[in-house]
């Protein structure tokens, strides 16, 4: 089992959700986050004062998957959210030691 964490552009979320649903991913957790990587921030202007905002809004998508699906999910994410521009985000993969479905107590892959 792996946990896949993808940091993506905010407007790509709906596309990604649809694409992942198509390959059989039935759940995910989404957080609105801010961060920076190679992409430059933006400037805002208020009464002649220019503010630079270096931490840009991004979406963090977390998905728990069976090990054999990991590559397929990574490929799907890349294919869906890649615009070819700096700021497309990153995907992190973590080995996951266990999972529990709170309602039933099912464990590991049963719980995914």
């Amino acid at each position: 089992m792996n946990k896949i964490e993808a940091i993506i552009r905010p407007h790509k979320l709906e596309d990604l959700r649809a694409a992942l649903e198509e390959i059989g991913i039935t759940g995910m957790t989404v957080t609105e986050v801010r961060g920076f990587g190679r992409q430059k921030g933006h400037h805002e202007l208020y009464r002649g004062r220019e503010y630079s905002v270096n931490f840009l809004p991004k979406i963090k998508v977390e998905i728990a998957v069976k090990a054999d699906m990991t590559e397929q999910v990574i490929d799907t994410i890349r294919a869906t959210v890649n615009t070819g521009q700096v700021g497309d985000g990153k995907i992190f993969v973590f080995a996951m030691s266990d999972a529990v479905r709170i309602r039933t107590g099912e464990r590991a892959e049963e719980a995914l």
Partner: protein, 453 residues
């Protein structure tokens, strides 16, 4: 009739393209000897302020709450900027084109360019300047109303150019046709008490044409985000509602009994339309919604506008109810069926409500209510309905042709839409360099530069 303006006509030149060549004609002469009434003037100054309040903050908030939080400033800017832009255009040439000396029943001349010859002297029972400013408030809101159809994607230069050209080439002539005593629709006997055709049909139909030319938002309809702040929208709707008393009761141009009729019919139609919309949702969708009640009220206000001072209060119940039903169908059925992205339902509410209101005026108007009105269909005069229909068709024709031509000209000068990237990141940041709601933690931003360094 209530827009009757006491300038006699000397010019009857048939070609309306010549309008821009016509120079100021002989000095203004006010042939009706009349005295300024303090009461009428006080009411019209108040009413003018109320109508200005309808655009900003009323319409600005009504529309601003309905878009994404990434586009709320750009949307507020449409209404706010119209206050500035048309506030100047109207003084410079808009008023003169609408109410200057008549040229062929089509348009006014430029004798009142920059309000020349418009002063504190009487026009009817109010100062000419009060009449001109009251009319200006209508010109402003009409252009701002259209902006609801192209929110979240139009480029700002295109919006500015379109607004000036549209106000000049569509609004000003149409106001002349309907409200100038020499306008051809006025002469025909088409009734439009406070702007069903001039304001609502013109903006609503132009909105439909504009959203078709400019195109849908990216991802429409599946990926469009829901309204970001309904409380803003409800505050805006409430300000529109209250401001509408200036709009309709003010259109009596006097603090008199007709103003009272218009006040009563306006509130009654709005209230019954709000009830109707909410109950329709309740029955058809299971829940009455706040946005539905607000939309219903605005629809009812639109529907009663052309007949406000011409119909009885019981008739306004019927007009409010029927307008809500037709607009409900326009917003919930028509738009989805045809798939156009009239984002904030300008056509569905103002186009359809204005059309039905204009026709309903021909059905319900009563000479017993207002001696300046004709009797309508239910009082045995079907001819009035025909006159109303001609007014509607004329409004549609001018709005469709005018908007189509103007946007195609604007397109040659500047792109109509922002780039897809800008559309996705939001117009506030892309076009205006601002963000409406900043919840940045300390350290997430820093001052990069000030004007001084």
């Amino acid at each position: 009739m209530y827009r009757f303006h006491t300038i006699s006509s000397f010019h009857r030149i048939g070609l309306w393209l010549t309008v821009f060549l016509v120079l100021a004609s002989p000095a203004w002469s006010d042939d009706a000897v009349s005295e300024i009434s303090a009461g009428d003037t006080a009411w019209l100054l108040t009413a003018t302020s109320l109508v200005l309040m309808m655009t900003a903050p009323g319409l600005a908030l009504f529309y601003g709450g309905l878009v994404s939080q990434r586009n709320v400033l750009a949307t507020l800017m449409f209404s706010f900027f119209c206050m500035c832009l048309i506030g100047v255009q109207w003084v410079l040439w808009g008023y003169s084109l609408a109410f200057g000396d008549d040229i062929g029943g089509i348009i006014g001349n430029l004798k009142h360019f920059a309000f020349m010859g418009v002063g504190p002297e009487a026009s009817g029972s109010i100062p000419a300047l009060v009449f001109a400013m009251f009319q200006g408030a209508f010109a402003i809101i009409t252009v701002a109303l259209i902006s609801g159809c192209f929110v979240e994607r139009i480029s700002f230069p295109a919006f500015v150019l379109f607004s000036v050209l549209w106000s000049t080439l569509v609004y000003d002539p149409l106001a002349h046709w309907v409200w100038s005593s020499d306008g051809w629709l006025f002469q025909l006997g088409t009734l439009d008490f406070a702007g069903g055709t001039v304001v609502h049909i013109s903006s609503g139909v132009s909105a439909l044409v504009a959203c078709l030319i400019i195109g849908r938002r990216l991802g429409y309809p599946r990926m469009v985000v829901p309204p970001h702040s309904l409380p803003l929208t409800v505050v805006g709707a409430a300000l529109l509602w209250i401001g509408w008393f200036g709009f309709n009761a003010g259109s009596s141009l006097a603090a008199n009994g007709i103003a009272a009729v218009a006040f009563a019919t306006t509130n009654t139609a709005a209230a019954v339309a709000g009830l109707t919309w909410a109950f329709l949702e309740w029955i058809l969708r299971g829940k009455p919604t706040m946005l539905g009640a607000a939309t219903g009220v605005v629809a009812g206000l639109v529907g009663i506008t052309p007949g406000a001072g011409f119909v009885s209060v019981p008739s306004s119940l019927a007009i409010g109810f029927t307008t809500a039903v037709f607009c409900y169908i326009g917003v919930n059925v028509l738009k989805n069926k045809f798939g156009y992205d009239d984002s904030l339902d300008v056509f569905g509410v103002h186009g359809i409500g204005g059309t039905w209101g204009a026709l309903a005026t021909g059905i319900f108007c009563s000479a017993a209510v207002n001696s300046a009105a004709a009797d309508g269909l239910i009082y045995g005069n079907p001819a009035q309905l025909g006159k109303q229909l001609i007014g509607v068709l004329a409004g549609y024709a001018l709005a469709v042709v005018g908007t189509f031509v103007i946007l195609n000209v604007v397109k040659l000068i500047t792109p109509l839409r922002v780039t897809p990237d800008e559309e996705v990141s939001g117009l506030d940041l892309a076009l205006h360099g601002e963000v409406a709601y900043n919840f940045l933690a300390p350290g997430m931003s820093q001052i990069a530069r000030t004007e001084e360094n």
